[in-house]
Subunit: 336 residues, 2 copies
């Protein structure tokens, strides 16, 4: 798809054409040079929206919670988008969860744009595609973008890294389910949600979370120095919100916590700091992607075929072969 065509779709999307937006998101999802072009088109118009990431173990009720949060936010008449991120199964190439049925109540709302995104094979693709998709959604008028992930693996953590506020959803008795990732979840959470909080054990879970926040040295939220806990400058302690998304109840509290975190980041300069860091990481990811493309182009060369045969036949060791290949000029593959 050439740049004029992409520009045409982008202009249409800016004028409110959902089909143009949907097609550009597919371009971003597929990656490569066309995706980079879309990113560049959107870049000058983006940056005014706000992004909320929602992550947690499978079965924690993230979809239901996201849908209920959309309802809550729509009461304030906000233009929203939801990106539901499905990292593909490493084996089948298919999406693990396609169950977006809970979002259907918003399907007819013109001001809610809902979209699933999956990887198309290459690892790390979603970490690149998600910030580009968020920019496109912002550039076409969405004030809030919710990013919902399927699980709590590394891909999901990379993906919620694109969010301004990150919500970690747990359930009563969460300890067993996400044991290995506890430390990591503590690291990324701006807000904890205990969903299904009408179930037994919700109080224990809250105590458990508070205790772990204390252990990891979290003092109270404050905007000046906190000598007691050794913090210099502003510090945010993740609040713990209880919800029953299926009723729904507790969503007003969650929405208030999100706005409070946003306003904290705005006041303290934390928002610009986070976004600057994300742009830096994005730059590195893009460099890496383009180098990967060069490796793929390298694989199509005669020199590679010949050295590969030598390696397969064990006449050249793979390290030696790699060294010889990398002495070849790495041509930039043509835009596809």
């Amino acid at each position: 798809m050439d740049i004029e065509r992409l520009q045409g779709l982008f202009d249409a999307a800016r004028n409110g054409r959902r089909s143009g937006l949907a097609r550009l998101l597919s371009v971003i999802e597929r990656g490569g040079a066309p995706a980079r072009t879309v990113g560049q088109l959107a870049f000058p118009f983006a940056g005014n929206g706000y992004t909320v990431g929602i992550t947690g173990a499978p079965g924690a009720g993230k979809s239901t919670l996201t849908s209920a949060l959309v309802t809550q936010m729509r009461a304030d008449d906000l233009a929203l988008a939801v990106l539901a991120i499905d990292p593909s199964s490493p084996f089948t190439g298919g999406a693990i969860l396609g169950d977006r049925v809970r979002m259907q109540e918003h399907a007819l709302d013109e001001n809610v744009f809902i979209r699933s995104m999956a990887t198309r094979g290459h690892l790390g693709g979603l970490a690149l595609a998600t910030p580009a998709a968020v920019r496109l959604l912002e550039a076409t008028g969405r004030e809030w973008v919710l990013i919902e992930t399927v699980g709590v693996g590394q891909v999901e953590v990379d993906v919620v890294g694109a969010a301004d506020t990150t919500i970690v959803v747990v359930n009563p008795g969460w300890g067993d389910a996400v044991q290995a990732n506890k430390a990591g979840l503590m690291e990324i959470a701006d807000i904890f949600v205990i969903n299904k909080s009408d179930r037994a054990g919700a109080d224990d879970t809250r105590r458990d979370l508070e205790y772990m926040l204390d252990l990891s040295g979290n003092g109270e939220t404050r905007e000046d120095d906190d000598p007691i806990h050794g913090f210099v400058g502003p510090h945010w302690r993740p609040p713990i919100v209880s919800t029953v998304a299926s009723e729904p109840s507790g969503l007003d509290g969650l929405w208030a916590a999100i706005r409070e975190h946003r306003s904290f980041l705005d006041r303290t300069g934390g928002l610009e700091e986070r976004r600057a860091q994300r742009r830096e990481e994005e730059l590195e990811r893009i460099v890496r992607e383009r180098l990967d493309e060069r490796v793929r182009a390298l694989r199509a060369t005669d020199a590679f075929s010949s050295l590969r045969s030598d390696v397969v036949a064990r006449t050249v060791d793979p390290w030696d072969a790699a060294g010889r290949l990398l002495d070849e000029p790495l041509a930039e593959p043509g835009a596809s």
Copy 2:
């Protein structure tokens, strides 16, 4: 560590010095140029051993099974090594499982070399380190190398890709535990083990596995064409072995199945075919690793710092910046 030092350690390891071997494995684990040198030293002497990968969901009893298998194989007086692979938590950088206590019964056996390996940060590191470690173990006299993984994620699957025979360990009622990965497990398994087969549901699990093997078009094992199932050439149907590793029982059957698979691969040329494919994949991984190193070296340049500041300040978009960086010559970083 310079090449003379590595050569010295390698010579010592070839002469039976376990401390030399252990230090070289640490070098491989850390990756980079010294690891590649060790790989090159070992390459000419490797290829005579046989590698068995053991994977399955956490809690399936892989450690106990591996230990019992070692006992079984030692009865045949074989020189063995066990590599226990712990992919690091994506969050903490620490190993998830350190529980190698079940292997302690072999700690005093001179002919069993046991070693845990973990990533040191960079993703894909274990997929590179494992085949290099296997080569080193072969080059220093181990006839059999067992690779045991912690779980069944993508890293583990990449790692068991270094094995000649792959054993997938399940338990009665396995269906729920590894649901998402069933298709992938069917793909990589050469032998299925139903461990803890004294528990309820073992017969159902066996039926379940046989059914899935049928579904995926598996006919009986045979070495000529199989027109009924549409196979041309030799075909191996993974046998299903029942064990209770903690007793232990069933290990003779597992050991027989491993030898049978090896002999099948030997007779049909499948072994050389598998190994050739692995060398090809390894070449691509090494090329990728070296390009990654160049990216890291690039990050240390003034051009990168300057463009990064522009991206952070939003005066240049990240795609444009990446393009400009990649026009710079990518210097090979010095061996460290």
